[in-house]
Every structure is written in structure tokens, then in C-alpha cells.
């Protein structure tokens, strides 16, 4: 089992509130990603699960048992650090073996005891095989590449078969290509181990590709928890909307206007149908969000219901193109397939948002409407 529960957890460092009233349940065998900009408190939350930091208030439970004040080594969790924190003076074998030396553990459901040398060697061998580290067991970390060190850190974490794995930005020291590859391997590892993973990152791509659920934290506050598609398709507030997605969601100020064919909003002088069932009072100021792929360029525009825009730049990515358009001084990013008719910078075009994919937010609170 490996269920982690935060209940009203707050952590202060002096006057700084790192984690603010966090309540979150991480299910057994889940791959939960704590996502947020740097300094948002996600690492502190992770360290509190490990017991490296203690909550100022609130409780943390592992499998229903409150672990506040319990020594890290008695929590049965393993952590992979951003710096890997390998013991530089020990060989890879010794590094992986280290967690087995400490305390007695239950073997195959039997009574707790210390492992003997042969059992330890067997387990180290297993962990090393899982991560393809057999050729390096006699080397010291200094003689390994970044990717290999990262594997050693993972092997050290899995060798004890803990109930929860904690990972603090484990991929951030790898180059882009290796990161993509390791992402896949981590998910594969998670499937094989059938254990809870709690993973901290500021990289939304890592979060979207690996997580079963993403918890987005900003300024110590939990903004939204949900499956990757949920947070992408129905962001709970403006912050999540702008944080998730690359290029990010476009947002423009708008005002609800009375209209015959359902609710509509005025952006400048253009009226856009909203395609929402949420009752909205006319005259209410809102923020309208729309992802770049839900905007379409009409080279012959602007037609009715289309925003008039001047093309500022066209970025060809290969499989798609990003068109930066200026609508009354607000820049909107449009994502078009690269087969779409070419538009030139300086051209005046129409932009049509897809009414089914409009996101409405309260202008004051930033919360999602409907």
C-alpha cells in the first residue's frame, strides 16, 4: 500500500508560507505529479512526505497512519533527489546497497530481520538489472555520465521496495533527448513496480506525459488536481489555464452582451458567440480564454463573428505553424497545421474562435465560470 494524505498542511519558514493549507489525497499506486513554478512549495510538500521537513500545522498520513514527527527512515519511503545525492566515495554497488544496510525489513511477508550479504547482493543485482546498470557496479559515481548517475539514484530508491517513491525534479539535470527517453522509462518502471510515485516538476510536458493526476500548486496553494486531460481541457482558474499548454492559452478581456442565439461576449467591437449553457448576466466583465489550436485564421476575413487581426509573425515549427496576431494591441497565438494557406506578416486577417472550446473566467477571482 502507498496512500499519502495531506490534511490542512501548512509549512512556514519564518514569515514565508511555503505550503498553505494543503489538503490532498494521493491514491495507492498513483503517479501523481506536483506541478508548479519554482519556489511554489511543491518540493516542500514532497519533503514533508519524506520527513525531511515537518509541517507547521496539519497532518500527513501514510496509509492512514499519521506520520508527523516520525523519523524519515521509519516512513518506508524512498526519494530521488534532483542532484541524485549519490555517495561519491562508494561504488555503484555500495550506493544501491546502502538502503538495505540500515534496518531490518520483512522478507516475503515474513518477520522483520536484517538481510544477509547474499540477499543484499541479489537485491542489488535485481535493481541494477532493472535499470541496466550491471556493467557499472564497480565504478564510482564520478566515473558515470549524468544519465547513468540518475539510474543509480533510481536503483537506490527501488532496491528497498518502499511503499512510496518521491522524486524531486529527477530529470532536470539531463539533456533534452535523454529526458524524453527517461520519461518513458520512468512510466514503464512505475507500471512494473505497482507503487505510488509522487513526482515534483516545473515542467508541464513531464507532468502531462507521465502523470495519472496532476496537482498544480502556485504560491503554496493547491490550484487544481486532475487527470492531465482535465487540467488541460477544463482549467480551474486563469493561472492553470495560462500555465498548462505550450504555447499557452490566449486570454482576452470581454464583456457579456445580450444576444438572441445564446450567450455572447463582446471583444472590442466584435461579438463572439460563447456556446456555453452557463447563465451570465449581460454587462458582466469576463476573461475569455482560447487555446492556440482553437483559433482559426480566415485569410479573406474578417467576416462576421471574427476578430480583425494583423499578422505580426509566422513561426514554422515543421508539423505546424504558430501565427502571432495583433488584435487591438493584444497578441494572440494561433496554431495552424503547416498545410494551412500561408499568411504573410502585415496582412489583415480574420480570426475565428471555436465556440465549443472557449474558456470563461471571472475577471476578479480568475476562477472558471461554468
Amino acid at each position: 500500500m502507498g496512500e499519502v494524505q495531506f490534511e490542512n498542511v501548512t509549512k512556514r519558514f519564518g514569515d514565508v508560507v511555503a505550503v498553505d493549507d494543503l489538503t490532498l489525497t494521493i491514491d495507492d499506486r498513483e503517479f501523481l505529479v506536483l506541478l508548479g513554478p519554482s519556489g511554489c512549495g511543491k518540493s516542500t510538500a514532497l519533503r514533508m512526505i519524506a520527513g525531511l521537513d515537518e509541517p507547521s500545522s496539519g497532518t500527513i498520513s501514510l496509509d492512514g497512519e499519521i506520520v508527523n514527527g516520525i523519523d524519515p527512515r521509519d516512513r518506508d519511503v524512498a526519494m530521488v533527489f534532483q542532484s541524485y545525492a549519490l555517495y561519491p566515495h562508494m561504488t555503484v554497488f555500495k550506493n544501491i546497497e546502502a538502503p538495505l544496510l540500515g534496518r531490518p525489513m520483512s522478507i516475503d511477508g515474513g518477520p522483520e530481520r536484517k538481510l544477509d550479504r547474499a540477499e543484499r547482493a541479489e537485491r542489488v543485482g535485481e535493481a541494477a538489472a532493472t535499470l541496466g546498470l550491471e556493467p557499472f557496479l564497480d565504478r564510482k559515481p564520478g566515473a558515470l555520465s549524468g544519465g547513468q548517475r540518475q539510474r543509480v539514484a533510481l536503483a537506490r530508491a527501488i532496491v528497498r521496495r518502499p511503499r512510496v517513491f518521491l522524486m524531486d525534479e529527477p530529470l532536470s539535470n539531463l539533456d533534452a533527448k535523454l529526458r524524453t527517453q527517461t520519461r518513458l522509462e520512468l512510466v514503464d518502471l512505475w507500471r512494473r513496480l505497482q507503487t505510488t510515485f509522487v513526482y515534483v516538476t516545473h515542467d508541464q510536458v513531464e507532468a502531462m506525459t507521465m502523470a495519472t493526476r496532476i496537482a498544480i500548486i502556485v504560491d503554496g496553494r493547491l490550484q487544481q488536481v486532475g487527470r492531465p486531460q482535465d487540467v488541460y481541457q477544463r482549467p480551474a482558474n486563469l493561472f492553470v489555464a495560462r500555465f498548462i499548454g505550450s504555447p499557452p492559452m490566449n486570454t482576452v478581456d470581454a464583456q457579456v452582451v445580450p444576444s438572441e442565439g445564446g450567450p455572447a461576449a463582446a471583444v472590442g467591437t466584435t461579438t463572439i458567440p460563447l456556446g456555453t449553457a452557463t447563465p451570465l448576466t449581460a454587462g458582466k466583465r469576463i476573461v475569455l480564454g482560447v487555446r492556440p489550436e482553437h483559433l482559426h485564421i480566415d485569410p479573406n476575413g474578417p467576416g462576421p463573428g471574427q476578430l480583425e487581426a494583423v499578422v505580426r509573425a509566422v513561426e514554422l515549427i515543421g508539423h505546424e505553424q504558430h501565427v502571432v496576431c495583433d488584435v487591438d494591441g493584444t497578441l494572440l497565438m494561433v496554431r495552424e497545421s503547416s498545410d494551412a494557406p500561408a499568411v504573410d506578416p502585415g496582412a489583415t486577417v480574420g480570426i475565428a474562435p471555436d465556440p465549443a472550446h472557449l474558456h470563461l473566467f471571472d475577471v476578479d477571482s480568475g476562477e472558471r465560470l461554468g
Partner: protein, 313 residues
Amino acid sequence: MSTAEAPAVAAPALTDADADSAAAPRRRRSSRVKEALFGYALLVPAVVILGVFAYYPLYRLVHFALYRPNRFGRGEVYVGPSNITRVLGGDEFKEGLWITVKFLLYTVPTGLVLGVLLALAAHRHLRGIKIFQGIFSSTVATSVAVASVVFFGLVNPKIGKFGQVGLIDLSKSSSALRGVALTSIWQNIGLTFVIVLAGLQAIPDQLREAAQLDGFGAFRRLYKVTLPLLAPTLMFLLVVLMIFAFQAFAPIEFLTQGGPAGSTETLVFKIFRRQDPGSISEGAVMALGLFGLTFVVTLLQLTILNRRVHYGD
């Protein structure tokens, strides 16, 4: 700089690179010579200072060891290497050597262990810990004379608070060396503390945390992680403290002047005593002996221990 100037600056560099003529290698050679000359010029101050203050005295020392002046300091007589073997094999040298070794055994292990313990205690993220760190390291800034006077006040047999403590009684030849050693330990502990603390701070916190999660208790963390990573620092301190012990002079001069009954006459003190023309030759030989000893011990430490010490990664 204006934009107009930029091409003018870049132009010669371009033609320089393009010039694939016979002149290019010659110019390269002459610039290499110039560079070498400049390098040697930079070495001159170091060579001069070492020459005047280290190598010339060493040369004079060898000279004194081989020639004996008469009692008025004139008319040197060549006495040859036999003088060296006679002094180094003599009782005085052996006695001084034994006292020096005892002094080293009193000061180095205790000083090192105490310094490490203090540094471990002070290596905490606590409010006000800087004050303690300041206090512990203050002996670095204390002169030997002041330290000795302070300890003279403490361990003096007549007026000292601890003057009657048998273990460090300066008035007895059986314990005086320990009293002097105590002063020396106190004097050097600030240095040990500061250097070990710096060594501890160089060990990443995450390593300690990883060890915590790996189930290492405080004691196992210390000897499995902290001490091995501190080994280069401890190695350095061991060499330095041993050299300090070999060369200890000031606390002896201040506290006992070598007494009682020569029981605190270390080699350095014996050498210091031999300054008059009649004994300077003997002193010079002893100094050479001490030099050789220090040299060999340091070399041994560096070669033997280096193999077992882990340096970084």
C-alpha cells in the same frame, strides 16, 4: 564604441588569420618566446623570496653542520659528515626526538578529535550558531604569547586554578609536557575547527538527507558518509598539525623554558639552545635532522594515505 570603429578593429584579425605565409610560423615562435619570458618574469619574486628566506638559510645550515667555528666564532674547521652521524646518533638528539614524539602524540590526535567534534556540534542550521562558530574559531586569532600567558595563569603551580592538577602539573618533570601540550591543543583547535567546519559545509545537505532516508542513524551517517567525505580535509589537518607539533616552540618558551630538568626540551627547543659558536654546529645538525624527519613523515602521509583518501568525484 561607435559602430563605425568595429570593422576597423576586426579587419587586422582577419588578415592575420588569412596570412598563410612563411612569416606566420616565425611570428608564432617569437610570440611563444615572449610568452615564456613573461612567465619567467612572473616567477622572479617567488624565486627571490624563497632563495633569500628558505634556500640560503638551508645552505648555511648545511655549512654549519659541516664546519665548526672556534668559541669566538672565527676560524672554521671542517668536521665533515662524521659530525652529522655523531650528533644524530647522540643521546641529546634522541632525547629531544622522544620528547617531540610524545608532544606530538599528546597534541595531534586529541586536537584533531576535539576540533572535529566541535565542528560537528557547530554545523547546524540554528539561530545564533554563528556566535558559537565565532567563539570556537577565535583561538585562530589569538597570538601564541597571549594563549601561553592565559594558560600560564591557569596551570601555574603556584597561582593557577588548575596548578595542582597532577596530570598537567608544570612543576613536575613527569607531567610538565602535558601542561604545555594542553596549551598547544587549545591554541590550534580554532584552526582545526574552522577547516573542518568548512569541510562539513562543502558536503551537500542532500547527501545527509539521502543517508537519512536510506535508514542510516546519526552514528552510521558520521562514519559511513561524513567522515569519508571529510577525509581530504582531515588528511590536510593531520599533516599540518604534525608539522606544528614538530615545530612547537613558543608555548614551551613561555611556560617552562624546557624545564623542569629538560623534560619539555623538544628538538626545536634544543636547537634554539645551541646558538653560541661552541654549539651552533651541533644545533645545525639537529635542525637538519628535524627537517629530514618532517620531510619524510609528510611524504609518507601524502603517499600512503592518499591512496586511501577519496578526493571529490
